[in-house]
């Protein structure tokens, strides 16, 4: 009796453990326990509404898994590698898109039945190019474009520059020299041009952008990028900024109110004139943090066009449900009716030209004092040169940003800061050829 009881108990334990394992597997596995037809992974919740529409339209059930961006690549990679519990559709962000299109996780959309190649002239060129792998095959598509601009306060522009017209203000910032001239004018009236010198990093390349790493795997620190260190330093030392680093509490605070800055040993209150942000900066940064100055903003162009961020999506190459998966991708990127609603609802700037052509005419945003930011961003997007993004960019940008800060803070000389940047780059990517300086 005792024996059977202990035998039984240990069996129960064992079964419990095994059931625990297999239970979680079937919940994530492709066979699915609850009749789920499609699994989607993303790093934001923005797909929630489209998924609802997709479910209603097709009579299917979709499961969305949201993983915060910081963990997204680390969580997704093992799943894609092993294929266990993998999504049928997943999104990718600019920071890792170059790695992923080449890794083969996304289905080749150039071949039939997808034939996505045919769409090439219907998208903003750089957006379409970003989704291609090194052999030129389309792996991922995007519904949005994320060019950047300079958001400024109209009231300050009127007072100091005599106009708040975006085109006029844009002219006053069309080159680095004119940016500094404008900054000087603003400073004379007690304003600060930018929150901090990091804001101008997008213009570091000037109008001749080069990729960080060329096809011979050599790290390229162009002269313009080196020059940028001086621009950043000048910006800081001449007091054109409010010393409010990006994403810091004071950075957010200065959007709406005056902030305290030190000047010649005295603390003064000052307002920040402009923020360098892309399309999404309007909706997820400015609008969520600004209360008082709503309607007092406008957007214009800086010294050179740039873009920041963006989501792409594609079909998992080992998905068992590719047809339905591509249907979803198609809806997100090519469905005219859906995209029109989407653009009006979210203000997202789309990359699908047939739709943007239709809506750009009478678009306006009250937050920007009724400005047609749609047309503006589309024009900016057309000027972005594709093909300069490499898989190293995000890390190298961070490391270089660090070096620039060391120099602008006066902790290191320019040469030492660059030398350290080279060392860190080599440490992170031993296969790169780094100049021997």
């Amino acid at each position: 009796m005792k024996k059977t009881l202990s035998m039984f108990l240990s069996l129960v334990l064992l079964v419990g453990v095994l059931a625990g394992c297999s239970g979680s597997q079937s919940a994530n596995g492709s066979k699915g326990g609850k009749d789920i037809d499609l699994r989607i992974w993303s790093f934001t919740d923005e797909l929630k509404k489209p998924i609802k529409k997709f479910e209603e339209k097709n009579g299917v059930k979709v499961e969305l898994t949201i993983v915060p961006i910081a963990d997204y690549p680390t969580k997704l990679r093992p799943v894609l590698e092993s294929g266990v519990g993998a999504p049928d559709v997943f999104t990718g962000e600019l920071a890792f898109i170059k790695q992923w299109v080449d890794a083969g996780y996304w289905e080749d959309l150039s071949k039939s039945p997808y034939d996505a190649e045919k769409l090439s002239d219907q998208y903003i060129p750089y957006v379409f190019d970003m989704g291609k792998d090194k052999d030129g095959k389309v792996r991922a598509l995007s519904w949005q474009t994320t060019p950047g601009g300079v958001y400024y306060k109209r009231s300050i522009a009127k007072e100091v520059l005599g106009t708040d017209d975006p085109a006029e203000v844009g002219k006053m910032m069309s080159s680095m020299d004119s940016v500094f001239a404008t900054a000087e004018k603003l400073k004379a009236k007690g304003y600060r041009m930018f929150p901090d010198e990091g804001a101008i990093r997008w213009f570091a390349q000037g109008d001749a952008p080069e990729p960080w790493v060329n096809d011979k795997n050599e790290l390229q620190l162009t002269d313009r990028k080196v020059e940028f260190m001086d621009y950043a330093k000048e910006m800081k030392t001449k007091g054109y900024t409010a010393n409010a680093a990006e994403w810091s509490p004071s950075w957010f605070e200065s959007m709406d109110k005056a902030v305290k800055v030190k000047e010649n040993g005295k603390t003064v209150e000052t307002n920040v004139f402009s923020y360098v942000l892309p399309t999404w900066g309007l909706h997820s940064v400015l609008k969520t943090n600004v209360k008082k100055s709503t309607g007092d903003w406008a957007v214009t162009s800086g010294p050179s066009p740039y873009f920041w961020g963006g989501s792409w999506l594609g079909v998992y190459s080992k998905s068992k449900n590719k047809e339905l998966a591509y249907d979803f991708v198609k809806m997100m990127t090519q469905d005219k009716d859906f995209l029109k609603d989407w653009a009006k609802e979210t203000g997202d700037v789309l990359s699908y030209l047939p739709v943007t052509d239709e809506i750009k005419g009478d678009f306006k945003d009250e937050f920007l004092g009724g400005q047609n930011n749609y047309q503006f961003f589309l024009d900016q997007a057309q000027n972005i040169k594709p093909g300069i993004v490499t898989k190293y960019d995000q890390q190298l940008d961070t490391l270089y940003g660090n070096a620039v800060k060391q120099y602008t803070d006066g902790k290191k000389s320019k040469d030492d800061a660059i030398k350290e940047f080279y060392m860190k780059a080599k440490n992170a990517y031993p296969d790169l050829t780094v100049p021997n300086k």
Partner: protein, 299 residues
């Protein structure tokens, strides 16, 4: 009788199964990867000892090692000092402090907050322009210029150490209190009758008898300290700014693996970290055993 023994295996089987799959297998796989140039996707090529020779000459790893020891050392000294002082006050027979359990809970609370919340909280408190700390210090007239705490290597390290102290002194305090309550009150009463003052009681009675407990705290804190990762990761830009002063060994490992995709090298870093931990623990263990032998002779 012989038959009965078999059933024991069934009972321990679940543990071993889980342990094999989730602990032994990854550890062994990491060991294999440490000899390859695995990048997270595709196939891994065996490169022999290249990762280990690189580790030995890696100035960034050495810096990370020194940083980790510095941050842990400052934190440990302060944490133990604070915990001991508080324990001495609370266990003092003449003082008879009230509200012990209340204070114990208060001191322990910081330990229950997730590190991400702590990092966010102190990120705001230490913000150099609008952070409360600088505002308070300036209003008191202690400093004339705001200090950019997290932008100078020295202050950044001290800040992290102090935050860790704040988080962990309650834990040490509770363990020490538990240790003190294990000491027979006879010793304290005898000391009281012999006219020993508080300092003498602490140094000659409490501390020697607490030695095993203190060494236990030391070892666990050391092992935890060598794995310091989350706070330095969250409080600045995640790569150990300013000037690499918050770059700890595990943060370095994390960045090599998950940011730069050098999984092979990161595995070697993991084993380097393992060896360092073993050496340090062995040193502490030795001191523990030798001190026990001494005690045995004394008694």
């Amino acid at each position: 009788m012989k038959n009965l023994n078999r059933y024991g295996y069934f009972f321990i089987a679940p543990f071993w199964l889980v342990f094999l799959v989730f602990s032994i297998y990854p550890v062994a796989l990491t060991f294999y990867y440490s000899f390859t140039n695995y990048t997270g996707s595709g196939t891994a090529e065996v490169v022999g000892l290249a990762n280990y020779t690189r580790l030995l000459t890696d100035s960034f790893f050495v810096q990370a090692f020194v940083n980790t020891l510095k941050i842990w050392g400052i934190n440990f000294a302060l944490q133990m000092g604070l915990a001991l002082i508080l324990a001495a006050i609370f266990s003092d027979m003449r003082l008879k402090m009230k509200g012990q359990s209340f204070f114990r809970a208060i001191f322990y609370l910081p330990n229950l907050i997730t590190v991400s919340s702590v990092a966010l909280l102190f990120g705001i408190l230490l913000d150099w322009q609008h952070g409360s700390l600088n505002v308070v210090l300036m209003n008191l007239g202690l400093i004339s210029d705001p200090i950019n705490w997290l932008n100078e290597p020295a202050t950044a390290q001290i800040s992290v150490s102090l935050i860790l102290t704040w988080m962990w002194f309650g834990h040490s305090f509770i363990v020490i209190m538990a240790g003190i309550s294990g000491i027979s009150t006879d010793y304290f009463e005898a000391a009281l009758i012999d006219g020993a003052n508080r300092w003498q009681t602490l140094v000659s009675i409490t501390l020697p008898l607490l030695k095993p407990i203190l060494l236990y705290i030391m070892i666990t804190s050391l092992i935890g300290g060598l794995q310091l990762f989350d706070l330095p990761m969250l409080i600045t830009d995640g790569i150990g700014s300013p000037d690499g002063s918050l770059n700890t060994m595990v943060l370095y490992l994390y960045n090599q693996a998950f940011k730069y995709n050098n999984y092979g090298y990161a595995s070697a870093v993991a084993y380097g970290l393992f060896i360092i931990t073993v050496i340090f623990s062995a040193v502490v263990f030795r001191s523990m055993y030798s001190s026990e032998r001494k005690q045995a002779r004394q008694v």
